[in-house]
């Protein structure tokens, strides 16, 4: 048996390599569907967008709607809240990015970049704490915005993280005004 180093590949070598290769490729080919089936299915992905009428929303009021299984906050902010959000320097923010799907990814977290263009009093954002997914409570916390009761994250009136374990600002989903008072989310 000491000839294998120099000898020509044998029939046995060929069978060993061929079987191993087919086995490895086959295992990978079967593994992928088994992994992929856990991703969102077609019916979940189909629930991509909804329209919300905000005409009844008065200054200082908020509504929470459900989009793709998650709460979305829509708030008509008061003048004082807007004023407060605008007075904050970007340098004071733990997360300086806008996290707004409607503006560029590198846009800074200024109040204007967080809100609807031309309708800056309206803020639309996911009601999902960026720490571990709880729903923050409105008009609470040290910055008068939102407060997450689970692990103590404080968000300001523009939904930006200011204090606590959450790493990012509340994300703003892709949305647009399709009528004067109709918001289409997604």
């Amino acid at each position: 048996m000491a000839v294998s180093d120099t000898a020509e590949p044998t029939r046995r070598d060929f069978l060993f390599i061929a079987t191993g290769a087919v086995g490895a490729v086959g295992a990978a080919a079967v593994a992928w569907p088994l992994v992929s089936q856990m991703n969102p299915d077609a019916s979940v992905r189909a629930l991509a967008s909804i329209e919300v009428d905000v005409s009844a929303l008065a200054e200082g009021q908020s509504i929470t709607i459900k989009w793709r299984g998650n709460p979305v906050f829509i708030r008509y902010r008061t003048a004082a809240e807007i004023e407060e959000a605008r007075s904050v320097s970007i340098d004071d923010l733990p997360d300086r990015l806008a996290r707004n799907a409607n503006v560029s990814e590198s846009a800074d977290a200024s109040d204007i970049n967080r809100t609807a263009t031309g309708r800056e009093e309206i803020i639309v954002m996911m009601g999902v704490c960026t720490h571990l997914g709880c729903v923050p409570l409105g008009e609470q916390g040290e910055f008068g915005g939102w407060y997450c009761p689970c692990h103590g994250s404080h968000y300001d009136t523009a939904g930006r993280i200011r204090k606590g374990p959450a790493p990012e600002n509340l994300p703003v989903p892709a949305f647009e005004f399709v009528g004067d008072n109709i918001i289409k989310i997604g």
């Binding site: 992994v35 969102p40 720490h131 709880c134 692990h151 374990p165």
Partner: protein, 424 residues
């Protein structure tokens, strides 16, 4: 240590089977004749109790699955259906829910016993690591099972714990969506959790089998931590320890039954009797009591990724414990300083439990941070150092000698041969 089979029988049917599959010989050598240190105390009965807990959970779980519906619109109702309509459904569900808690009480006692008597040390490292694997699978099973009733705490517990994976750099968000099968915890999540909750107990059975196999290769540790040196140090597993285990199990079942019949909801959360609402987070999310110390560690670090890492590290540190401990003396009986630090660790874990049950603010946050720091200090600094600086007490020369000395102290006879020991 595995005793060889000297199985004999005159029954022709058993003989016929035995020559084809030597299962009776295996049972006799491993479950009856198996040589076991003669000085095991009641802390050693929890292995048997844990096997019992697993069996109860599987049997009752299979029965509950006949009545439960894993769908977001029906899950909560089907659990109430079990409670109100199914014959003995209330009892079966309370046994299963309480059974989880009893399982964890037993496993924590079992683990602390292993730490106190140094059961994780050479040559039982792999036995210990398999135990940590069992703990991890148990935790996963308990977490998945808690989601199934689809109450408020089920839903939000699931959301918070699955969101832990979003802390993973780069792929975190995709990973969580993959786990959920959607953009939030929803019906696909409930379905897969049910599937996995049914699967994992059988994985546990497999790992428990490996755990017991490893035990039967090295043999039991014992309260002196001194290895078995001769046959004089051992007695057969049956009837001595089958009886002792059975007696302890009977007491354990009494406690179990007390909770099932008198305090079935004491260990749970009232808010889980409110159906899951994805738009409203309960004011105070807390996991079941057996996760509280780990939850406290997670929350004591005000950084998402580091908090998650610390929580997983608190269990992983147990895997490397056999190599962190530099002392060659196993039992705390002969380690006066270690014994004190052992109890400090127990107290620390209890304190972390209380911290985990309270909001992470003010004093609780501070206590949680100190408790977390001490937990890691114990394993990573104190345990390695102790082995180097501690002077152990003199140890008896053998298990038999230790038994003789103990009997002398009690004024008992000097003949601690197995038969006399058993007669006590």
């Amino acid at each position: 240590m595995a005793g060889h089979s000297n199985f004999e029988t005159n029954n022709p049917l058993i003989k016929w089977v035995e020559t084809r599959l030597p299962i009776f010989g295996l049972m006799q050598s491993q479950a009856m004749d198996f040589p076991t240190p003669k000085n095991l105390n009641y802390w050693w009965t929890f292995g048997g109790i844990l096997t019992f807990c697993l069996a109860v959970q599987i049997v009752v779980g299979i029965v509950l699955a006949m009545h439960y519906t894993p769908h977001v619109d029906m899950a909560f109702g089907s659990v109430e259906h079990i409670m109100r309509n199914v014959n003995y459904g209330w009892m079966l569900r309370y046994i299963h829910a309480t059974g989880g808690s009893m399982f964890f009480i037993a496993v924590y006692i079992h683990m602390f016993r292993g730490m106190y008597y140094g059961s994780y040390k050479e040559p039982r490292e792999l036995l210990w690591i398999l135990g940590v694997v069992i703990l991890l699978v148990m935790m996963a099973t308990a977490f998945l099972g808690y989601v199934l009733p689809w109450g408020q705490m089920s839903f939000w517990g699931a959301k918070v714990i699955t969101s832990l994976f979003s802390a993973v750099p780069l792929v975190g968000e995709d990973l969580v969506v993959w786990l959920w099968g959607g953009f939030s915890v929803d019906n696909p999540t409930l379905n897969r959790f049910y599937s996995l909750h049914y699967l994992l107990p059988f994985v546990l059975v497999g790992v428990v089998f490996l755990h017991i196999w490893a035990l039967h290769v090295t043999g039991n540790n014992n309260p002196t931590g001194i290895s078995v040196k001769s046959e004089q140090d051992t007695i057969s597993f049956h009837p001595y320890y089958t009886m002792k285990d059975a007696f302890a199990m009977a007491l354990f079942v009494l406690v179990f039954a007390f909770f099932v019949f008198y305090k079935p909801n004491y260990l749970g959360h009232p808010i889980n009797y409110q159906e899951a609402d994805p738009l409203v987070t309960p004011e105070h999310i807390v996991p079941e009591w057996y996760f509280l110390p780990f939850y406290a560690i997670l929350r004591s670090i005000p950084h998402k990724l580091l908090g998650v890492i610390a929580m997983f590290a608190s269990i992983f540190v147990l895997v490397i414990l056999p190599w962190l401990d530099t002392s060659r003396v196993r039992s705390a009986r002969y380690r006066p300083i270690f014994k004190q630090f052992f109890w400090l660790l127990v107290i620390d874990c209890v304190i972390l439990g209380f911290v985990g049950a309270n909001p992470p603010e003010g004093t609780w946050l501070l206590v949680g941070q100190i408790g977390t720091a001490y937990y890691f200090l114990h394993f990573l600094v104190i345990i390695p150092l102790l082995g180097l600086i501690e002077t152990p007490k003199p140890r008896p020369t053998s298990i038999s000698q230790a038994v003789l000395d103990a009997n002398k102290g009690k004024g008992g006879g000097a003949d601690a041969v197995p038969s006399a020991q058993a007669a006590e």
